[in-house]
Symmetry: C2
Subunit: 363 residues, 2 copies
């Protein structure tokens, strides 16, 4: 017998149409709404529910309250043979990010590499979506973005930058490409929110309280992050330097330098400041065949991934996964069965539909 906590399966196409309808209802262009729907549904299909339709409310609310421009004018203030900067005009992050990645790919098509930075943007969803666009062009894609300040540098006791994700997609032989899409924090905030919902403590070493010592209370942590009371997530590798926390911190700061000062966007503590998000993103595309004949590359990468899958396992584990493999399998499953949404998410979408004056007929 289903309980109220059991997820309900919703076909991806229905969710997609619903996302578009909500965004168009508050004034977004159909083209832009479609891109946002593509990216949100892709996240749900890949199993990254923290970046799926559960985020829709923020975008709708952002446009509704005017913190996100419904019809931004995007400009290209600087451009070269392999490089460009896009000013997203404070519009939705997804269409600006798509335009930037496409431009990076077009430049790589011409000269082998393309790098495009975006400024004055907003939350763009999963970084991996854009990195994966490179794959069908025979290219490697790398994408990163800065984010609202939630992560403390090594030895610091307050958040100084975001979870600053890095995504890298590499076309490879085998059943699925290499797709690494990682927050540079130990855990993504979405995962902590999920554990709070499940009433679980988080592992020691994921986050610190305002006194700088570790906290395992997911509820207090999320509340403290929202109210900016000094709670902070920790970089990959955790507290201090023993397990490489300074490496995760270094990667996060690299992302902030590229997406903030270099892109001409906000950085560090100033992201999502009084004058808006002003997020910066970074998109890089590299043509495989500028370095190696395609067939040779695919043959070698296939063999490398086969070797890794066939490696001896640690006790209790049956598989060694290639980055992106779990998500590719989840996409197959959810495309077939539908996207499982928790009742709490569905009822929020119903409320959102009501507010936006959109018909809600998902379940």
């Amino acid at each position: 017998m289903p309980t109220t906590d059991e997820p309900i399966l919703v076909p991806a196409a229905r969710l997609h149409a619903f996302v578009m309808a909500c965004l168009e209802a508050v004034g977004a262009a159909a083209d832009d709404a479609k891109v946002v729907a593509d990216v949100l549904i892709a996240a749900n299909l890949r199993g990254v529910d923290s970046h799926g339709v559960a985020r829709l409310r923020r975008y709708v609310k952002g446009i509704h309250t005017g913190t996100i421009e419904a019809r931004p004018s995007r400009t290209i203030p600087q451009e070269g043979p392999a490089t460009a900067v896009i000013d997203a005009g404070n519009g939705l992050g997804q269409p600006a990010a798509l335009a930037a990645m496409r431009l990076a790919i077009a430049k790589a098509e011409q000269v082998g590499l393309g790098m495009v930075l975006t400024r004055r943007s907003n939350h763009f969803g999963i970084a991996g979506y854009y990195a994966m666009l490179a794959l069908e062009h025979g290219m490697i894609g790398m994408v990163s973005t800065n984010a609202s300040p939630q992560v403390a540098p090594t030895f610091a006791a307050e958040p100084m930058f975001g979870t600053n994700p890095l995504a890298i997609a590499i076309p490879t032989g085998g059943p699925s490409p290499f797709v690494l899409d990682m927050a540079t924090s130990t855990a993504a905030r979405g995962r902590i929110e999920q554990m709070r919902r499940e009433g679980k403590p988080i592992p020691a070493g994921w986050a610190i309280g305002p006194d700088g010592t570790t906290t395992t209370d997911a509820g207090a942590l999320i509340a403290g992050l929202i109210d900016r009371r000094g709670h902070a997530l920790l970089p990959v590798g955790g507290a201090g330097e023993t397990y490489g926390g300074h490496k995760g911190y270094g990667l996060a700061l690299m992302v902030d330098l590229l997406c903030g000062p270099l892109a001409g966007a906000a950085w560090g503590r100033h992201v999502y400041g009084p004058s808006g998000a002003n997020l910066g993103h970074c998109f890089l595309a590299m043509r495989v065949d500028c370095f190696r004949p395609w067939d040779e590359f695919i043959a070698d990468s296939d063999q490398l991934l086969r070797d890794i899958r066939a490696a001896k396992k640690v006790p209790g584990q049956e598989r060694v996964y290639i980055p992106g493999e779990k998500e590719a399998e989840e996409t197959q499953r959810r495309t077939r069965d539908g996207i499982p949404l928790l009742p709490v998410v569905l009822s929020d979408l119903a409320k959102l539909a009501d507010e936006a004056g959109v018909e809600f007929s998902l379940a």
Copy 2:
């Protein structure tokens, strides 16, 4: 009273001349010997003693036994406006890496970005050395290399790739540039060798034994890595996925895909195989002023780093470091005072001098 374990301070210039003399004695060209000396001494000056003159024996021995070509012919099998591949002809890694980074910089000078991959190379020292070359050109440098197999993927119980370092140098305002130079393993092997010398156990979570469970015995671990008995280091984030070990694994595998299959070099378990090292390296240069006016970038990056240094500290810590800051300070100190070498390293250098027929007058 000095004990036999106390380091002796040696001026950098003397060490440099000694490194050159040893390499020239076994047949390396003076230009190549100078590059190797530059890179080894830079490592010692930065405090990365595991990659300093302690490595000289391996290079000398490699040339002496013919596993490294003393006078390689380097070729450029593939080249485009922003990209190139260098075949290092199985010569010393450092001169090939220098040539590759210079070529990447020259391409970035022209089109904004340059990426050069190197195949059939050998150990190139610290990756950060080459990344930092970009700085004086107003560029960002990124460098990586694959390495001998020592690291286990998440959930695997045997080494499948190397410590695959990533180095990123970004010119910034302030006392020292951002220089992140990190192994993608929890700890670099050099650090474990140091703890073995000091008779200390390594922290649980750095490495596993052949049964796939954690080991803290530095001596058994190093012996097992050398004899390929199934011991393995773990990626940044440690065992399993709880602390992001799958992220460190993903980064390490990304480096292997770029430096192995893409560069046309050996990869994974096959690096340092029967036919030689065949290491692959990756060098990327990006011109800052293709994205943002130089002065604006420097002003913003300076402020970001100031913010981070000024962050509230965790209890017991007095500073928040910028990546590369400790190393820049150590370089100042060691340039002034000399490079501290342990008696065991000095006596090995004396033995090496004797074998190579070179005068040894360091201490």
